[in-house]
């Protein structure tokens, strides 16, 4: 009987440990509760800007609902002081040819969304990593710039991180 009770307690501890462990590691539930399924977020690591005006915008959709969105409706190149050098609105992004968006994974591809001639933006499915080829119509002086994207909710930050990256043009 004693052995049985010890086994029961061991299993109780293992199972409770799994439950609490998944809670803490996936949601930081015992410290700073975070649910990454609430709002879309984007990571722009790998983005490159060239002096001839070519922007290779590398986007990874890192958070938000798994079944819908997000939608990138504004891409900006900013001077370090925050002034806009150039930007693409949803109208332009939504009318891009599919061939200008290169997806890492074949399933759930990112794609331009437009309704007739009305461009909406770029659909970015959760988990997808993709490169958008954009062209600024003039040369860009060497220096440091910020590339930023906005979600359709009007935000460029979520969960304490901004959807932007610093790039250097040489």
């Amino acid at each position: 009987m004693k052995t049985l009770e010890i086994i029961a307690i061991i299993f109780m501890l293992i199972v409770t440990g799994v439950t609490f462990g998944l809670y803490q590691i996936n949601f930081q539930g015992f410290t700073h509760l975070t649910n990454y399924s609430k709002t879309p977020a984007y990571d722009l690591s790998g983005t490159r800007l060239y002096s001839n005006g070519t922007l290779l915008l590398n986007v990874t959709r890192t958070a938000g609902p798994d079944t819908y969105g997000g939608f990138i409706v504004l891409v900006q190149i900013l001077y370090p002081n925050g002034t806009v050098l150039y930007q693409w609105t949803g109208q332009q992004l939504g009318m891009l040819p599919q061939s200008d968006i290169i997806n890492e994974f074949p399933l759930h591809p990112a794609k331009p969304i437009h309704i007739g001639n009305y461009g909406v933006g770029i659909l970015a499915p959760l988990g997808q990593n993709f490169v958008v080829k954009l062209q600024v119509p003039f040369h860009i002086k060497p220096g440091t710039y910020i590339v930023r994207v906005y979600d359709a909710d009007g935000q460029y930050k979520a969960y304490g991180t901004e959807f932007q990256v610093t790039v250097t043009v040489s």
């Binding site: 086994i7 029961a8 299993f11 293992i14 199972v15 799994v18 439950t19 998944l22 809670y23 590691i25 996936n26 949601f27 539930g29 649910n35 990454y36 399924s37 609430k38 990874t60 959709r61 890192t62 958070a63 609902p65 798994d66 994974f105 074949p106 399933l107 759930h108 499915p125 959760l126 988990g127 997808q128």
Partner: protein, 174 residues
Amino acid sequence: MAQVTIETTQKFLPVLRITLGWMFFSAFVRRVINVPDKLNPQSSLYVGGKILTFLPHAWSPVKGILIWVLENPTLLYDFLITFTALEAIFGLMMILGLFTRLSGFGLALLAWGMGPAAGWLGSTCLDEWQIASVEGAAALMFMLTGSRWLSIDQILHSKYPDGIKIGKIRIPLW
């Protein structure tokens, strides 16, 4: 039928057993009977796409495996078919109470296995964590209790009360 003492607790186990089994078996039913396109790689409903949504906050060794599987479509398809088959087999065994202990062990691994991959998902109530934790705990409980009432294990036990023996080791399948 030999006189078997069944503890009171055993009589209440089917209350949970059938619901638990259905959670897994119904996944097979949805993908194979309700919406067969869920297992069609050409369809936008293909469940392979779900694996992609796990990526952003999957735990690090698991994330690498997921990326590898996603970049090899045939591997992804084989994985989905295997996972669906295991859910069907172990889920049905749990519902019927056939080798309940083995089924409980299998289902606990399937449920908990979701934790490091999809555990961070859930826009309403930390959904995937709840699924993994509750189903994992319930399934593991059945590994420990078995289910000897309203079950095939009950029949097996009445016919073979000693269970299966390999050499001198008794394998407690029921």
